[in-house]
């Protein structure tokens, strides 16, 4: 399996007032293609910072970050925007959909910034929406959808550019447990289809869907284990 993410001695320091906060401390890490990684840790452990750096929303203070063999740690804003567009699919806890746009347009959005032609965009977006089982809601606005459906839209949006990694930040955090299970089943299915998934969570049973759990504490890796008994949902029940 080829390496997708390679962190070498990544350090991130925030300046808060006169204090320096070391959010990540000399962190090294490798994630391979088609891994399903859960990142865990208490608040303040640096998981958000790690997410942001993996997602190219933020750059490390020092260290080397290679994504698909390309050094992204020194890239400028525009180059990072392009990487985010092509390589990363974000799924957020609060869904972060555009409230005034319908499902189709929300899912199309990354393709617009990717410069895909309108016809191609519609086709790809419809395919992604079908994969998350929301074809019937394609012209609904986010406020006409349930939380689970919104998260599916967000997942469709993250999939539509066929990124190298899906980056999910507490994707079930705002959902009840049943809906959360459905969303996790969807991730399991996407993983089975060959996607690389990185999941940030603080709930053990969510993390157990992954096949590898990285535990952070104080900006350092405290544990990195392979999950023996994946809580794989046997039948990826996808309901619209």
């Amino acid at each position: 399996m080829s390496t997708i993410i390679k962190f070498q001695n990544i350090t991130k320091i925030y300046h808060v007032g006169s204090e320096d906060v070391h959010a990540l401390e000399n962190l090294s890490l490798e994630i391979k293609k088609n891994e399903y990684v859960a990142i865990m840790g208490p608040s303040g452990s640096g998981k958000s910072t790690l997410m942001n750096i993996i997602g190219c929303l933020d750059t490390p203070t020092s260290g080397l970050y290679e994504l698909n063999g390309v050094n992204v740690s020194d890239m400028n804003d525009n180059q990072l925007a392009k990487i985010r567009n092509k390589e990363i699919g974000f799924v957020f806890q609060t869904f972060n959909l555009l409230a005034r746009s319908d499902v189709l347009h929300n899912v199309e959005l990354p393709l617009i910034y990717g410069g895909i032609s309108s016809g191609e965009r519609k086709k790809l977006a419809r395919e992604a929406i079908e994969r998350v089982g929301l074809t019937e809601r394609i012209h609904h606005k986010p406020n006409e959808l349930s939380g689970g459906q919104r998260q599916r839209v967000a997942i469709a949006r993250s999939l539509v550019t066929q990124p190298s990694i899906l980056l999910a930040d507490e994707p079930t955090g705002n959902l009840d447990s049943k809906t959360g299970d459905e969303i996790m089943a969807l991730f399991d299915k996407l993983f089975a289809e060959g996607n690389t998934i990185i999941l940030v969570t603080h709930e053990e049973y969510i993390a157990e869907h992954a096949n590898r759990i990285i535990r952070l504490r104080d900006g350092m890796i405290e544990g990195d284990e392979i999950v023996r008994n994946r809580r794989a949902i046997s039948q990826p029940t996808v309901q619209a």
Binding site: L57, N78, A81, F90, L97, R100, I112, Y113
Partner: protein
Amino acid sequence: MRFMVSEIREGLLIAFQAVRANKMRSVLTTLGIVIGIVSVTLMGTAIEGLNRAFNKSISAIGADVLYVQKWPWGGGEDWWRIRNRPDIRIQHAKAIERQAELAASVSPVSGTGRNVKYGRKLIEGIVIVGTNADYLRTTGADIAFGRFFTAMEAEGGRPVCVIGSEVAENLFPNETPLGKTIKLGNYPYRVVGVLEKQGSFLGLQSLDTRAYVPIDRFFTEFASRRSGLSILVKSATLELVDEAKEEVRGVMRKARGLKPKQEDDFAINQQEILIQTFNQIGVVIAGVGLFITGMALFVGGIGIMNIMFVSVTERTREIGIRMAIGAPRRTILQQFLMESAALCLLGGIIGLIIAFPLSLIIDQVLPTAMPLSIVGIALLISVFVGVVSGFLPAYRASRLDPVDALRYE
């Protein structure tokens, strides 16, 4: 290229959605722009109207005509000194006619206001103009039907008149005026001709509400022989108008008996001077208009800037989402510039909708229509104001940190 097209389309869509989502706010915000655009449009329309009225009226008189008068056009000289000048008299016209070789034709002209009656119909306050038989040739006016009075009639002081088209329409709606006797003031005159419609000058005084009578008779019946007149001199050709002017000046100086060092005690006016004066007035009007417009647009622009800052703050999270999904900073900048431009364009369109009926009111005074170029200019100006006043907020939006923006509540 295709990349740009879909981005711009997305930008327009967002702008449209943003305006639609905040209809009331958008309309109120654009008020300053609306006022600015109304002012731009009306000012443009008024100036256009002035120009049209001026050119229309002035061209009826002809650019090769000199006006020997007591008063210079455009003023600027000492009022009292000019007031004390001797009046221009009929004998001066005769002298010019005899001596000025570059004068193609010469017409003395004097006017006064009177009522005109035909049967029970009455028109108040038309201008009775006394002149000679050469009037048509001198001014380039045309007769619609009938004829102008002849030199014989003029010298014989016959009670004949030629009336303007409006007088004819009002007194003789259903019959021919020719051969009818009308009363100018208290005196009966036989109508021998009707002039072609000429239009009005700045909407103040229509050339069509006039009646032309032989000047000798004019002086016995309507004005004292001592009262002043103007002498219209048509130059032989347009090119020779300056030479003709010098010649006429020489004749007048001789007739007045001026010594070489004495100043002229008369004025020789030309349309050119009127045009210059008019242009000066135009510049003043345009200047004042520009100032008012500029103020309104400036205030409007500040309003737009303010609301765009609000919009950027409100949509910080949306900006974060777009950035996370891969929108580069330039695209965010462009999106908010478009929104601001769209807002101003909305104001511009509302402004035009308001200005159009107002321009019809102006039309009552000045014969004009809202020129299409003004519509284009108004829309361009509103977009320009939008881009300028939207720049700072849009720039701020584009500089947001995606992590902070996503976390913004």
